[in-house]
Amino acid sequence: MTNVIVARSVDEALATLSEAPDITILAGGTDLMVEINRGLRQLNSVIALAQVPELHRWSIGEDRLMIGAGVTYTTMLNTKLAQAAPALAQAARTVGSPPIRNAGTLGGNLGTASPAGDTLPVLAALNASIVLDGPSGERCLSLEEFMVGVKRTCLAPGELIKAVEMDHLSGGQEYLKIGPRNAMVISMAGVALAVDRKAKQVRCALGAVAANIPRASEAEAWVGERINWDSGTGVDSVLAQEFGQRMAAESSPIDDHRSTAAYRRHAVGVLAARALQRVFSEGTNGYV
């Protein structure tokens, strides 16, 4: 029989984790329960985080946002977070169905660390730091450092994800995702794009087209130089197309039962071009 401990605070959770480092963390359960039902995971004991108030907190600062690991997709969609990080809200909207969005959490998406996880490209584009806490104290990691492979993280025994901090930007943002139907899908290709007006940067990251969540830094630099940052102009369809091709070149997709590498690469190009045009389209000028 599986033993379930319901933690009431981060300290309590950490104490339990340090005593039993092989205990499994349960947040919304929307990944974990699926794995258990499919017999892919054996559990000895479980620590549930849903009752830890600190993990549900979020705050909007001038330059950075803080989102607790236990914040659900519904919260990312229905609170001021949706204006502060529009691409995150867009990514949250693509996740599952309303019941999944009510239960599923940001921490869980990170914990699963799937290249198809929908918040991950947004976090990468927003220069997120993942705040971990554990036996040897707190540490902050970039997504690149945190996610070391397909469904592999660098969480040490006894550690948990406490929160995620990310940039609060003033420019436009887009998250576009393709799946095999129009809702409730695992991503076949996803593009996150965020405009950082202050730094005069376009930031892009890709989902479901590599073993990690690549930032398309060459395409970012290329397009950043071609935009007139004072007027927010310079993006026409020719530029967008070329940007798309450069983005596609930075993906390294595979063939699998969900789609083909060729389609995924093509899709990245189309999505990136559209995302760029949307944030720099007339009336918004990337400055929404």
């Binding site: 909207r93 899908v185 039962h257 999505l271």
Partner: protein
């Protein structure tokens, strides 16, 4: 397709208005009565077969083959027996009776003995005190496999070395009709392919078997046909049929996938061996491996027409991949072949149908039963032909529409109602919905992924017509049975008809109310001990067959009551009617309450109901093999994002030949559900196979339409032309919505993109990466 309307504008709009209020008064036939199991299902209170429980029961688990083709050299069950809590581990050698089962041919082992022929084939069974123990013990069984290269190409199968003692050809049939030397002035050709669809029911295979004192077994299971399960189980267990007592447990959908046995024999074997109740529930992953699928099809077509568009000749070669075992493949290929030309008049036809064995998962019955695959092909051909002729595609279909008195390509003359032209007209002339450009992502291709704006889309309209047979064909002795008893004014109906969602539970009550003028109708559980066979809940047949049996049983009871009352009052029974729970003499002088009459004496009747007999096909594929037909037409509007290959179906308008509507909401439910399954096949639903391995046996990766994939369904018309011989003239409604909806969606995507798209499901890359 702007001239769609023009083609039919001359025809008067005569859509049928159903006066549900009038019919609802007595909650009888035609009334909008709600399902007795509807509210419990929505509230989660309905007991499905996975909810069964008994004292001290054990959990069963099946060990399945991981290989599509392998010889078994040795099986060591020792490690499984070593688990605490394991009560039985069974192999093929433990099967006491017949080693094989099957619907048509007994060619499928209950458990594989020395060879496995598909991924998921059952090899061993475990019963244990906890489902996890059963699963882990099963995984501990050591099976030594000698892997063989699988045969997975259906087109190579008939020439390949046999992978089964019965050979690789399950059935080959030829249809040769008319003067085959005829040719047309206009000829179009195409090669078409349909992927492997799954029924994707929500309630996984589950049931419970209990040992009985007489050495028999009692089984509660979700199935489509209790009595055919019983005869197969009894044969495999070496029992008399009466020793196998089956009760229908709550069914969570079927769509054909429960016509074959899955866990039935396994459960009974485990219960017999352990002398304890045993329960099994397949996991979702296992369910995809544990039942038959829709046959993947490869089809080559050549249509000949004269310059005016009259069809001269249709040539077709159809190859269905039956997978490892026969299941109902022989009947499916017959349907695919017989309906290969569509609901059109053709002077000549030459069709070769071939159902083969491969090491792919077995295929069998699924809603539409062979007609779906060929409809996709013949409707694509009709559009091609229309384009070659420069003709409106709807006009071409109307010109060639079959009608009563015409012959099918099997030579059978259509008798009864068959309003093909009417469904085409009604569907085509229904006003097109107004669908202005939108930037609401929910109505755009890509949906919640926000990939697409209105300016990224192109619109297309497609039209398709399909038909199929109702009831079992080819000389099958097809019948149903029902009993009716009236006591204290309450009618009890007993029938073994499997309610799998089609709504028999509602219709049986409506029929009894109409026939007997009673208010309260009890439907007894469907059981083999209390009923003779009702036949299968498939082939759109139960409203006709079991509905017909219930109607006949009720009428017999009514006759008895009226004859007794007539004798008592010394009037002819012809002068008596049943009305509002009373027997009333038409002279207006006398009346008696039915409740009172049946309090003094129970009235009961038991009937077996058969449809007209059918023939078999002769060596030229000719014969009166079918009983009746139903048709439907679909018009589909799609928006396509050609750069990404994403599709949003915006509207589906349909007209369907229904005979007569017995329950409007249930009819609508069948039509909407059937269309959803058709949309799924056109755009997303496919079991992905990789050299015999199933790559997507989960609802994560086997995707079915969500509300953002399904459009509004507009009913242009229910065409109510009563069918002679059917109770109240009602035809089965379940399958036609699935037959032509896939074809119409594909046609709409072709119209939008200009691509030929000869394969369904259409994948995004088929559009986005197509060579233009």
């Amino acid at each position: 397709m702007s001239c769609l309307q023009a083609a039919v504008s001359a025809v008067e709009h005569t859509s049928v208005v159903i006066d549900t209020k009038e019919r609802s008064r007595d909650r009888g036939v035609g009334a909008d009565v709600s399902r007795p199991d509807g509210v419990p299902k929505v509230q989660g209170r309905f007991a499905f077969s996975s909810d069964l429980w008994a004292d001290n029961f054990l959990w069963g688990h099946t060990l399945r083959s991981p290989h599509p083709s392998a010889l078994i050299s040795n099986i060591d069950i020792g490690p499984a027996l070593a688990f605490g809590g394991v009560h039985a581990v069974l192999l093929a050698s433990d099967v006491p009776g017949q080693l094989n089962f099957g619907l048509d041919h007994q060619d499928q082992p209950v458990l594989a003995a020395d060879q496995v022929r598909y991924v998921g084939e059952p090899v061993a069974l475990v019963a244990a005190e906890h489902p996890d123990i059963a699963r882990r013990a099963a995984e501990a069984i050591v099976v030594n496999y000698e892997v063989i290269a699988p045969l997975t190409d259906s087109e190579a199968a008939s020439e390949a070395p046999p992978m089964h003692p019965d050979g690789n050809v399950i059935r080959r049939l030829g249809i040769r009709h008319g003067d085959l030397s005829l040719t047309g002035e206009v000829v179009v050709e195409g090669s078409y392919e349909v992927g492997m669809q799954d029924q994707a029911f929500m309630g996984p295979e589950s049931g419970m078997a209990l040992p009985e004192e007489d050495g028999g077994v009692e089984l509660f299971v979700s199935t489509q046909w209790l009595h055919v399960d019983r005869s197969q189980i009894a044969a495999c267990l070496g029992l008399a049929e009466e020793q196998v007592r089956i009760t229908l447990a709550g069914v969570g959908g079927a769509f054909g996938a429960r016509e074959d046995l899955s866990l039935q024999v396994h459960l009974c074997l485990l219960a017999q061996h352990t002398q304890k109740p045993v329960k099994m529930v397949y996991s979702r992953d296992e369910s995809f491996l544990g039942h038959v699928h829709r046959h993947p099809a490869k089809m080559c077509y050549r249509h000949h027409a004269d310059r005016q568009g009259h069809l001269i000749k249709v040539e077709a070669r159809i190859v269905l991949d039956g997978g490892a075992y026969a299941s109902s493949s022989a009947a499916v290929i017959a349907n695919a072949s017989c309906f290969a030309a569509g609901p059109y008049k053709v002077l000549a036809a030459e069709v070769e149908g071939l159902a083969v064995r491969t090491n792919n998962p077995p295929c069998g019955a699924m809603r539409g039963f062979g007609a779906v695959q060929t409809c996709f092909a013949h409707e694509a051909q009709m559009d091609k032909l229309a384009a070659a002729l420069g003709m409106d595609p709807v006009e071409l279909r109307l010109l060639n529409a079959l009608a009563p008195g015409d012959r099918l390509i099997t030579g059978q003359v259509i008798t009864g109602a068959f309003p093909v032209a009417e469904v085409i007209r009604q569907c085509a002339q229904a006003p097109s919905p107004v669908l202005p450009p939108t930037n609401d992502y929910r109505d755009l291709p890509g949906g919640s992924g926000r990939t697409t704006k209105a300016e990224d889309t192109v619109r297309g309209t497609g039209f398709a017509v399909g038909f199929k047979n109702l009831m079992f064909s080819e000389g099958f002795d097809d019948y149903s049975s029902a009993a009716c008893r009236v006591s204290n004014g309450v009618a009890t109906i007993t029938c073994a008809c499997a309610e799998v969602g089609q709504g028999f539970v509602t219709l049986a009550q409506q029929i009894a109310r109409t026939e007997l003028s009673v208010d309260e109708v009890i439907l007894a559980p469907a059981q083999t001990v209390t009923s003779k066979s009702a036949g299968s809940t498939s082939a759109s047949r139960q409203t006709w067959m079991s509905g017909g049996a219930v109607q006949a049983a009720c009428r017999k009871v009514r006759e008895q009551i009226l004859s007794d009352v007539g004798a008592k009052w010394d009037v002819s029974p012809d002068g008596l009617v049943l009305r509002d729970g009373m027997v009333v003499c038409i002279d207006g002088q006398r009346q008696a309450s039915l409740a009172q009459l049946t309090a003094e004496q129970d009235y009961e009747a038991d009937v077996v109901f058969r449809h007209v007999p059918t023939q078999t096909l002769d060596e030229n594929g000719q014969g009166n093999i079918h009983v009746s037909f139903a048709c439907a037409a679909h018009r589909v509007i799609v928006d396509v994002d050609p750069d990404l290959g994403l599709v949003r179906v915006r509207d589906i308008t349909t007209a369907q030949d229904v005979g007569r509507i017995l329950n409007p909401t249930q009819a609508l439910g069948q039509i909407e559900g059937g269309i959803a399954q058709g949309v799924g096949l056109a755009l997303m639903e496919e079991i992905v196979l990789d050299d015999g391995l199933v790559r997507n046996n989960s609802f994560t990766d086997y995707v079915i339409p969500t509300t953002l994939d399904m459009p509004e369904v507009t009913i242009a018309a229910f065409i109510e032309e009563p069918e002679p011989g059917a109770p109240y003239g009602a035809k089965g409604i379940g399958e036609p919505p699935t037959i032509s909806s896939s074809a119409a969606v594909a046609a709409a995507v072709r119209d939008a993109t200009g691509l030929s798209l000869e394969r369904i499901p259409i994948r995004p890359y088929d559009i986005a990466l197509a060579d233009h």
